[in-house]
């Protein structure tokens, strides 16, 4: 330190001044702000702010998840004797052979499809009734029949063997019975354009009774989104000279999409491929909180707890040959293909503990960062359906596991905007990869990739 610097130091180091400050007014402000009543009020305000904030974020996420599938759909509770109680679904009419059909909605209530009288009248007007039987339908699966199309196979018309198709007396009598039952309110499924008379289909209740109809399964999501109240730590723990390591609390919520991938084994070659193609990602949700502990100038350690719900969908496509009447007045049968897609909705709930190293860079009020780390997820709930082999669909649950607890590797790029010294809003997107190991029924290894965008707030203290 040269002489000039020494002189500057001597002049300014012990400098004191009252310029630009009013001592009394400042003291009054300090006294008021540091009084116990003011502290209490500040705490109350803070708690209220966070409770409402968390509720708002939770509500937005919840509504986004629910409206995604339930829009435009009316639904009714599912029967109590079903295995999964939280599933609801709706049945609406579909045109089996491409003809225009009046909108007809059939609701499934306690596993029974009922048609209201007004719908029956429509059928009378159309004069094209097909009433497969008057039995109540028992729908065994918590599924949605997404597609059910019956296609003519013109080439088959030339098939001599088909020309010899004989409508069995049983079928005729059944038709008669159908007409007889038309007056009944228990008519189940109607189609004003096609009549299915394939004996195979008649055997399978589900197929014939829901033919040309679309079952929309609407999942009732039982939200476990817990609203975590956060109590602000005492203000006296804020920026103090001894607090060299800053800690901030982050609360975030967002969506989750998981893409699953099975690996073929030597025992079941090719099976994983059909499973992969039949699985689709669905939106889930994530709600989390974490502590960000400053460990250096531009990096933190991020430790937290998340509630994560994954959803995916397993589509089972059933294809069968059938016969249809070419038109409503005709008694001539034509061969056709009946394609039916049944959608099974699967769910996984887990508590996840993420640990990430986070690098960041502040540019003005904006923070750019990247977190890299791992997380361990404890699976506490799972339910759904999956292929056990090429043909068999099985239920899985927490007792018959598809997923076990798993370790993930994850990266979280984020961007934040500092609203104040203590508050920052964040947008983040966590990308995780994980291996779930063998499950209990397919013996295939399953890996998954999750993409979890979220928004949140960080509170420095």
């Amino acid at each position: 330190m040269d002489k000039l610097e020494q002189k500057i130091r001597n002049r300014l180091a012990k400098d004191s001044s009252m310029a630009g400050i009013e001592s009394e007014s400042l003291w009054n402000a300090i006294s008021q702000a540091s009084s116990p009543a003011a502290e209490l009020q500040k705490k109350r305000r803070f708690i209220l702010f966070w409770v409402f904030g968390a509720a708002l974020i939770g509500g937005v996420v919840w509504s986004a998840l629910v409206t995604d599938e339930n829009s435009m759909a009316a639904y009714f509770p599912r029967g109590e004797n079903e295995g999964i109680q939280t599933d609801y679904y709706l049945v609406s009419e579909n045109d089996a052979v491409g003809h225009e059909v009046d909108g007809l909605e059939v609701s499934a209530v306690q596993n029974t499809l009922n048609i209201e009288k007004k719908n029956t009248k429509k059928l009378e007007e159309s004069k094209k009734p097909y009433l497969p039987n008057n039995k109540k339908i028992t729908v065994h699966n918590p599924v949605r029949l997404e597609q059910n199309t019956t296609q003519f196979k013109p080439s088959d018309l030339d098939d001599p063997s088909l020309n010899s198709v004989v409508i069995s007396p049983e079928l005729k009598s059944e038709h008669a019975e159908i007409y007889e039952n038309f007056e009944s309110d228990e008519v189940l499924v109607l189609n004003n354009s096609a009549v299915l008379v394939d004996d195979n289909l008649l055997i399978t209740n589900l197929f014939e009774e829901t033919s040309a109809n679309r079952l929309h399964r609407i999942e009732a999501r039982e939200s476990n989104l817990s609203v975590k109240s956060y109590i602000k730590p005492d203000f006296d723990q804020a920026v103090t000279p001894k607090t060299k390591k800053g800690i901030s609390l982050n609360i975030y919520a967002g969506l989750v999409t998981a893409q699953n991938n099975f690996k073929n084994s030597s025992e079941t070659p090719g099976f994983a491929d059909s499973l992969d193609t039949s699985l689709s990602a669905e939106l889930g949700g994530r709600l989390g909180a974490s502590y960000r502990i400053s460990k250096g100038k531009n990096w933190n350690v991020n430790v937290g707890l998340e509630y994560v719900q994954w959803n995916d969908r397993f589509d089972k496509v059933l294809i069968s040959d059938t016969l249809v009447f070419e038109n409503s007045g005709s008694q001539e049968l034509s061969p056709a293909i009946n394609t039916r897609t049944i959608r099974h909705y699967n769910k996984l709930s887990s508590l996840t503990v993420p640990v990430e190293l986070e690098l960041y860079k502040d540019i003005e009020s904006i923070r750019f960062g990247l977190g890299l780390g791992t997380s361990y997820s404890v699976v506490f709930g799972q339910e759904g359906r999956l292929l056990k082999d090429e043909l068999t669909v099985v239920d899985y649950s927490q007792s018959n596991k598809r997923y076990t607890n798993f370790l993930s590797f994850r990266a979280t790029p984020f961007i934040g905007y500092k609203l104040s010294e203590k508050l920052m809003v964040n947008a983040l997107c966590t990308i995780g990869i994980q291996s779930h190991g063998d499950n209990s029924f397919t013996n295939l290894k399953e890996n998954s990739l999750t993409i979890m965008p979220a928004v949140g707030v960080s509170l420095n203290y």
Partner: protein
């Protein structure tokens, strides 16, 4: 600056009169500190208010083994000021047109300046150099401490100090200008 033990003990008990006594003792010193560190001195009241609230509420964390009380209080105030500087977009506002071929400034020249004028002169150096200069030369922090306070690397702190020193040696014309025609025109 002498702060009595009884005053600190009174503050620990939450005694209002002891707090007022401490406030009166520290205010001029911390006010001058804010004047040196804040980019926008119009916010000095806010910073001082927050600093005193923290001092009163966390006074039990003061460890007399580690230094004098006013050093602890000044550290709080400097941290708050630096944080405020980071969050605000204000820049040090004093700019003086440079002139060429001015003689090198001598320490004796400083005697002609008031402390406020000297601070204004120092503020004319680039803000990042000024912060490090303030912390290292005037308030005696180490480069490690400065790096932590400013959230920069230690090497960068050293570099900024070297540049501040170079500036001080190479820009004496500003000071001479300050002493001359510009002395009363600086806002």
């Amino acid at each position: 600056m002498e702060i009595s033990k009884s005053c600190i003990e009174g503050c620990l008990r939450g005694d209002n009169s002891a707090q007022r006594e401490l406030y009166d003792l520290l205010l001029p010193y911390l006010n001058a500190l804010c004047g040196r560190y804040l980019k926008d001195v119009s916010h000095r009241k806010d910073i001082l208010q927050e600093a005193f609230i923290i001092i009163f509420s966390s006074i039990e964390q003061y460890d007399k083994q580690k230094g004098e009380f006013h050093s602890w209080a000044s550290r709080i105030t400097i941290n708050l000021s630096l944080k405020h500087n980071r969050s605000s977009r204000a820049e040090f506002y004093t700019h003086i047109e440079s002139e060429t071929n001015q003689p090198k400034v001598s320490p004796e020249v400083l005697d002609q300046l008031s402390n406020e004028e000297l601070t204004r002169f120092l503020r004319t150096m680039p803000a990042k150099y000024y912060e490090v200069f303030n912390l290292f030369i005037i308030d005696g922090f180490t480069h490690d401490e400065i790096a932590e306070m400013l959230q920069i690397k230690v090497s960068l702190s050293r570099k900024r100090l070297a540049r501040a020193r170079a500036w001080l040696q190479e820009k004496p014309k500003s000071l001479n200008a300050l002493l001359g025609d510009y002395r009363f025109s600086i806002s």
